[in-house]
Subunit: 259 residues, 2 copies
């Protein structure tokens, strides 16, 4: 008898978040699920790895017959590495990350722990998808997303993804998406980035804040454009950032340095 697909799930909001439980329950309709997630929030951790402190893995009670649960003391990428090394007894057919509480559209992909985990899966050849909802609320309503996530997940489980590519999927908040658009990330950057405080001794300290500035708000080729119009977005992501199309331009700039 053929084995059911094995689906590894992680996130960056931690194992106690509502989004990962929602995702695990959707995935459990398609295969056997193992959740290996951070024991606490790890937002903004990008592809960070823990090189200089030891890491722990703790087993939790399963939340269903086919949803096993583990937490680790590491980052989202550590969770993927530890799952492969110390938790799973066979290679997963799919890696899902999320559902993140908050947007990973635009430039956010590079800071996202959700996408760090998806890119790690991609790097070792596992079809990988990060899912995010544009709401930071801990009690966000993920239910309108269910049929979309079930459909995308089933298709990738069945068809795979192009080599070296994973998916960054974002959903608008507070509505049923009008549909899904396959687009690229909007060129964007963060501005006005810190709140400033003074210690009781008069020294300054800083807390990250800021606004996402979209450099191309009217461009329908981008994720931010469609998210504002109540569509979900699917951005193909290539973890390898080598810009092969810029080799010539860079060569001419540094030419005297070349042999």
């Amino acid at each position: 008898m053929e084995k059911r697909p094995l689906i590894l799930i992680t996130n960056d909001d931690g194992i106690g978040s509502k989004g990962i439980i929602h995702l695990a329950r959707i995935a459990a309709t398609l295969g056997d699920v193992v959740v290996v997630a951070p024991d606490a929030a790890q937002s903004g951790k990008s592809s960070a790895i823990t090189a200089n402190t030891p890491l722990y893995v703790n087993a939790h009670s399963p939340i269903a017959d086919n949803i096993r649960m583990f937490s680790t003391s590491g980052t989202p990428v550590d969770c993927v590495k530890l799952a492969m090394f110390a938790v799973l007894d066979r290679r997963p057919d799919l890696l899902l990350s999320g559902i993140n509480h908050g947007s990973n559209a635009g430039v956010n992909n590079i800071y996202s722990g959700t996408m760090g985990a998806a890119m790690e899966g991609c790097t070792i050849g596992i079809p990988s998808i990060g899912y995010s909802l544009l709401s930071h609320a801990s009690d966000a309503d993920f239910s309108p997303l269910t049929p979309f996530i079930a459909d995308i997940t089933a298709r990738v489980l069945s068809e795979g993804l192009p080599e070296g590519i994973c998916l960054n999927v974002n959903f608008p908040d507070g509505c049923t998406p009008l549909g899904m658009k396959v687009v690229r990330a909007a060129r964007s950057h963060w501005t006005e980035e810190y709140a400033t405080y003074a210690t009781p001794h008069g020294d300054s300290f800083y807390w990250l804040t800021g606004k996402l500035h979209n450099d191309e708000p009217d461009n329908p080729e981008t994720d931010e454009y469609w998210l504002k119009r109540q569509y979900g977005t699917i951005v193909p992501i290539r973890p390898d950032q080598s810009a092969t199309d810029a080799l010539g331009a860079v060569s001419s700039i540094v030419s005297k340095s070349q042999s």
Copy 2:
């Protein structure tokens, strides 16, 4: 009178490392230097940002008339953001990150705090370069790199870089590079990733280790190939990981999800 160029320098090994001081002294021959670096080692921090704890900036004594020194309690990307927000009084003409004690070739770009900082500079439109030496030794010999770094830095300061592109520059250890090659990162991944220990209570814990597996060791289009042959390598890096060439393939996989 025209102002001298302003060069912002950071790293992921911390403000006390030998590599950043070496880089600051090279850069000081080309402009005025401000170092804003982590107060302790932040290796493997990728593009991680600190969202949920406050951050501090401390002024250190300058190490030369035109090399001002600051440390922060944050990650390499936090250092760039805090430099722009709280330290610099004008926009830098160039951002340099490193010299990293250790390789950032191949897949390492996505885990690298050195490159996280360079990509942050790129994202806000500052020509940015990460420099790394293939030695983790705290007393590594950076002197053979000096003319190469001076030349590449001067050229980028003068010519700029293509929009959306920064550079990941790696040098072989223990020799004067035979030259520089402009190439892409080798497709590679880490294997055998943890040392396993037992606590006094018999529970397991894990420490990151592992080996870089190069998937294409004989390919002269890649950085790993040339680094093994005593050349330095320059990889153009695009922080935006949107894979626009995969939009069609992904659309056909998820087609029924699209409106």
